[in-house]
Amino acid sequence: MEVNWPIEIARAVGLAVTVFTFLAVVAAMLGVLLERKIGGWIQSRLGPKHVGRQGLLQTVADTIKLLQKEHITPQAADAVIFNSAPLIVAVAGLLDWIVIPFGVVHIGGTAIPLVVRDLNIGVLFFAAMASLTVVGILAGGFASNNKYSLLGGLRSASQMISYELPLATALIAVAMQAGTLSTVGIVKAQDGWFGSFAFSQFPAFVIFLIAATAEVNRVPFDLPEAESELVAGYFSEYTGMRFALFQLGEYAEMFAMAALATTLFLGGWKGPVLPGLVWFLIKMYAVVFFLMWTRWTFPRLRLDQLLNLSWKVLLPAGLIWILLTGFAITFLAK
């Protein structure tokens, strides 16, 4: 296979910059603002109001503030690991986006999907990258040399290992019905409103949403951060931009999960009248809204409840659903 290396490398760098900018603006900055506004709305508060019109510039101000802050490495911390941990989280969050198809453009009759790279192991790649986040969290929690951080990191590790399995069962069921692991292929396999996998794979959709909420450490599964007991857990010791990188990684991951839910279950970019990219964003923000809605309405689970839910409810349900999907594919489809 002939590859033009300079062009490939330039393309990779260009796309990385584009995706990073997109995420920093759309996911992290807009996401935080949305989170606070929706949180305020649900709790009958106003939320940010003073910076810019209706508080629209609040996160821009916050970002500038974080950029200027002094970076502190605690004396007893393991400096190398401490400083590289936020990078692992941020990069893993960004890499998720490589396989997300945003839409299609029609050039001369051929439809070209708007995706960084349509890997034929797309879904597997996503799961693999999502599983790298926990390494960064664990490393950050350990290197801070703070008991709350370490506890947060350990909780996060046990939680993410537990919820990766139900998440994988949901992904497998969808891939089985679509007959492909490629994200573009899965979108193409869904036709019309009722052809989307949210209906035919409804149990997988529910399992995916619950497991995805747990994977991105959000309430009701936010034990690794748990402000009220662990003073923010694994990132307690981080300041300034490194703290912001953790936040960026977390929001990138959450938006990536929403984008994957859109791709796998809601028919991706497909929809009438409006262009594909718009539909994709509408669906993605709908899932993001759902995640925020649960965050502001549910109380936090206990650790044992959390693990029981994963191992005793979600995992068996996922396995049974894979079995049923297999039966359906073998006996009904032919």
Partner: protein, 163 residues
């Protein structure tokens, strides 16, 4: 050209972090250095166009095994702050053995004539691997499943004994 550069870069990443794994006197650092080692190997798989194996490698080794190792180290009493000496006075001897082994391996590998397959790679390796598992290699597949099941049961029994 580009392929060779990629291979050299990946090898350096893999080997350098592997040296940290066996040499670092901090267990957590050693365990964390496993991540770049595994990722370097993943890069080599991708260069061999084995995407599926590469994906599994990241998911299982970099994402799960390393985390499990870290988890165990951090739960062990004193494991985190402990400074372990991984080297002893036999380091020169070990180096000599390693160099001899490397010399033998390199000479064998460069002299062997490797059979080159003319078959083309299947478009979609994941389903090809699945088909092989359930047809030609079904025995190996089932036996390894059984081994995993038994070790799972063993782990549960050991964990339950505490009561």
């Amino acid at each position: 050209m580009g392929e060779q550069a990629a291979f050299i870069i990946l090898s350096i990443i893999t080997l350098a972090s592997a040296v940290v794994v066996v040499n670092s006197n901090n267990v957590v650092r050693a365990a964390l250095a496993l991540v770049p080692t595994f990722l370097g190997v993943t890069g080599l798989y991708i260069m061999l166009q084995a995407e599926f194996v590469a994906g599994i490698q990241v998911l299982i080794y970099a994402g799960a095994i390393t985390v499990l190792i870290l988890f165990v180290i951090m739960l062990t009493e004193g494991g985190t702050g402990l400074r372990i000496r991984q080297r002893n006075e036999q380091a020169p001897l070990g180096l000599l053995t390693a160099a001899a082994l490397a010399a033998i391996l390199i000479s064998v590998l460069t002299r062997t004539e490797w059979p080159k397959s003319t078959a083309t790679l299947p478009q979609y390796t994941a389903s090809a691997i699945g088909n092989t598992f359930l047809t030609n290699s079904v025995l190996a597949f089932e036996v390894s499943s059984l081994v995993l099941l038994i070790s799972l049961m063993g782990a549960i029994i050991i964990a339950r004994r505490e009561k």
